[in-house]
């Protein structure tokens, strides 16, 4: 399989794209559900065939997009261990962390990848009239879409299991990478004027956290787990 690397890259790109889209929707939804920003800036949009709430504030949107744009190369290379959306109170101490633990099975997807490639498309291209041998990229992606829909649903109802946040919260995104990746990050500044810095202990460490699992998904191309770490006493 001399074309293995290229196929892998193709697949990595597909997964990274899917993940980045999903994470964007998830971040917006978290901001909506946890009331980090006023409800008025959100509007209903459609993703994965269901309504989701996305902000229409341009700077907020740009920030989230830039963030995920920088994460994408890491995802492509499977360097990301987890992506965390941290909600901080007025004193910049974390009150809640939505942790997306991401695992990409390394060689499991070879068969699907070769299928994709043989059919002349990376990004889940659907080729008509193709004999359905191995799981087609269409059904694979629609399966993944279904799982991601379930994640969206779970985030929407996470209110029930979480305490109210104090007013005046802000948010930030942390990316936990595997070892060598951060060194590369410093060399490659993906977006100008959007630097990433090593997170402070203060931002990462939460005192006395409670763990609330929300959802897990397993698929051929991606495994993801979402849980919330919540500070026991959120105070005001």
């Amino acid at each position: 399989m001399t074309t293995l690397t290229r196929q892998d890259l193709n697949f990595g790109q597909v997964v990274a794209d899917v993940l980045c889209e999903f994470l964007e929707v998830a971040v917006h939804l978290i901001l909506y559900v946890r009331e980090v920003y006023p409800v008025g800036i959100f509007q209903k949009r459609k993703k994965y065939n269901v309504p989701v709430q996305m902000s229409c504030h341009p700077e907020l949107n740009q920030y989230i997009q830039d963030t995920l744009h920088c994460v994408k190369p890491l995802l492509e290379k499977n360097d990301v261990e987890k992506v965390v959306v941290v909600i901080l109170d007025k004193e910049h101490r974390p009150v809640e962390k939505f942790v997306f633990e991401i695992t990409q099975p390394p060689l499991l997807s070879i068969r699907s990848a070769s299928r994709l490639d043989a059919c002349g498309g990376g990004e889940g291209a659907s080729v008509m009239g193709r004999p359905p041998l191995t799981p087609s990229s269409d059904s694979l992606l629609s399966h993944v879409e279904q799982l991601l829909r379930a994640f969206i649903l779970k985030i929407s109802v996470c209110d029930a299991v979480l305490d109210h946040n104090p007013p005046g919260c802000t948010f930030t995104v942390l990316v936990h990478t595997r070892e060598a990746a951060t060194r590369n990050m410093e060399k490659i500044q993906v977006i100008k004027d959007f630097p990433w810095i090593l997170a402070d202990e203060q931002d990462v460490h939460m005192h006395d956290p409670r763990l609330i699992p929300l959802k897990t998904m397993t698929s051929d191309i991606l495994k993801m787990q979402l849980y919330v770490e919540e500070r026991a006493h959120k105070g005001s």
Partner: protein, 466 residues
């Protein structure tokens, strides 16, 4: 014994798994008729509240009934939260039906998750989606996939015939078996061809009637005002699933006169371009009602996935009919003849170009319907004034989003409704709220009243000027 089982099931779903349990979802999961599912949910709520008044339980209800608005009587179907239930009930002149729609632990901020809940289970039960439903249509059977489009056209016509008849018939049929509870099931929704639940069905029915009536009214050029409050109402509902049917009134009044034409028209409005050869050809298209379209888009999201050709054709049919332009006072659709087939735009994905080609191509099957002002019927690429949102930093350093009319070449089918009038009592913060749409950006819809200050107080508010 059996009683306890389902209560335990529901308890497990709601409390342990933190799921949203809608009656439809419950009916598929437990394999019971929808009315039984509704009753089960009701029982559960009652018992739980009796046992433990502090239980963390949020309930939504589906309320339907007739409403007098601006002197018109219309039918309203709404999903409301418990705290708004009394208010909505009191507004209705006649309450036709109230039943539990869903139970969940979390307080829902909007109706999105309700749709999400039903989406997957419905998709996986597509072949027998009316198995537990109270809405049945004997004529709705899957078609053989091998039929050509020309014969499918004939089917559409005959189905329209059947649908109009069936609607009349089903209005009289009683509800499926189910214990008479504190709810009365509305007769109205029964008239729908068996697709979805009563709510959606009611909506569809209203739409069917509405589009039919619209088709007539295109010839009558009735007041545009009829539509506007309808839209305003839709958006003013927190759970905006109200199906306003203003045209029921018109339908009734014109029924006698136009009866033939009603039947005639829908057959004609099924728009294969092959039919489009008339003189006096006039394109009329409907400006998308945003929320309605949303609802249909949601439902359409399910429908388009249907494997049935027939249902797809029905769907296309509905889409085509829905795209009939809303009558406007300033529009000139008087010349549209009810029996001029080409008056309605073809929506099939790859139509052969009709002799008087539609004003714009219709690329997508799951779209916001094109809403082009009817013109003299030529194939123009017009520059239209479109309501667009411009965001900029003003003098004081605040981000301001303003909706302005901008000329735009209307080559794609994305002209949204410009004339949307009141959005009634939306809180100021939500004036910038835009209607649901796909990821692809289109011209943004907003309140037509540009002059009305986009009250962005709450938005700029989080740039504290300290």
């Amino acid at each position: 014994m059996a009683d306890q089982l389902y209560l335990e099931n529901i308890d497990e779903f709601v409390t342990d798994q933190n799921k949203i349990v809608t009656y439809k979802w419950l009916s598929y999961t437990l394999g019971v008729h929808v009315n039984q599912a509704k009753q089960m949910l009701y029982d559960y709520v009652e018992r739980k509240r009796k046992e433990n008044s502090g239980a963390q339980l949020h309930v939504t209800y589906l309320v339907s009934g007739s409403l007098i608005q601006n002197g018109h009587s219309c039918h309203k179907v709404a999903v409301v939260r418990e705290d708004k239930l009394e208010a909505v009930k009191s507004k209705l002149a006649v309450t036709a039906s109230i039943h539990v729609y869903s139970i969940q632990k979390a307080m829902l901020k909007d109706s999105g998750p309700l749709f999400n809940t039903d989406y997957d289970i419905l998709k996986s039960n597509l072949q027998n989606c009316s198995k537990f439903s109270a809405i049945q249509c004997a004529a709705a059977v899957p078609r053989a996939p091998a039929e050509s489009s020309s014969s499918s056209k004939k089917f559409e016509q005959s189905h329209l015939h059947m649908s109009s008849e069936t609607q009349a018939n089903n209005e009289l049929t009683t509800n499926g078996h189910g214990p008479p509870a504190s709810k009365q099931v509305s007769q109205q929704p029964k008239g729908i061809m068996g697709m979805f639940a009563s709510k959606a069905a009611a909506k569809t029915q209203e739409t069917n009637k509405e589009t039919k009536t619209e088709a007539k009214e295109v010839t009558n050029a009735s007041a545009a005002g009829n539509k506007a409050p309808g839209k305003g109402n839709m958006m003013s509902n927190f759970f905006g699933k109200a199906a306003m049917n203003k045209f029921k009134v018109n339908l009734d009044s014109e029924q006698a006169v136009k009866e033939e034409k009603i039947v005639e028209q829908p057959t004609v409005s099924v728009t294969e371009p092959k039919l489009a050869t008339p003189a006096g050809l006039k394109k009329s298209s409907k400006k998308a009602e945003p929320v309605k379209v949303l609802q249909k888009e949601k439902k359409r999201g399910k429908r388009v996935a249907l494997s049935d050709d027939e249902t797809k054709e029905t769907e296309n049919m509905r889409k085509k009919r829905r795209r009939i332009k809303l009558p406007e006072s300033d529009s000139s659709e008087d010349e549209v003849f009810p029996d001029s087939p080409g008056a309605y735009e073809a929506e099939s994905p790859s139509p052969p170009p009709p002799p008087s080609p539609p004003l714009e191509p219709v690329p997508k099957t799951e779209p916001e319907p094109p809403s082009v002002k009817s013109s003299s019927g030529e194939n123009k690429r017009k520059r239209k004034r479109v309501l667009k949102s411009k965001t900029y930093l003003d003098g004081e350093g605040c981000i301001v989003t303003e909706k302005v009319y901008e000329s735009e070449s209307c080559t794609d089918s994305e002209e949204e409704l410009n004339m949307k009038t009141s959005s009634v009592h939306r809180p100021p913060a939500m004036t910038v709220k835009k209607e649901p749409r796909e990821e692809r950006k289109g011209p943004k819809k907003g309140t037509a009243a540009l002059g009305k200050a986009n009250r962005q107080v709450s938005i700029t508010g989080f740039f504290q000027r300290k």
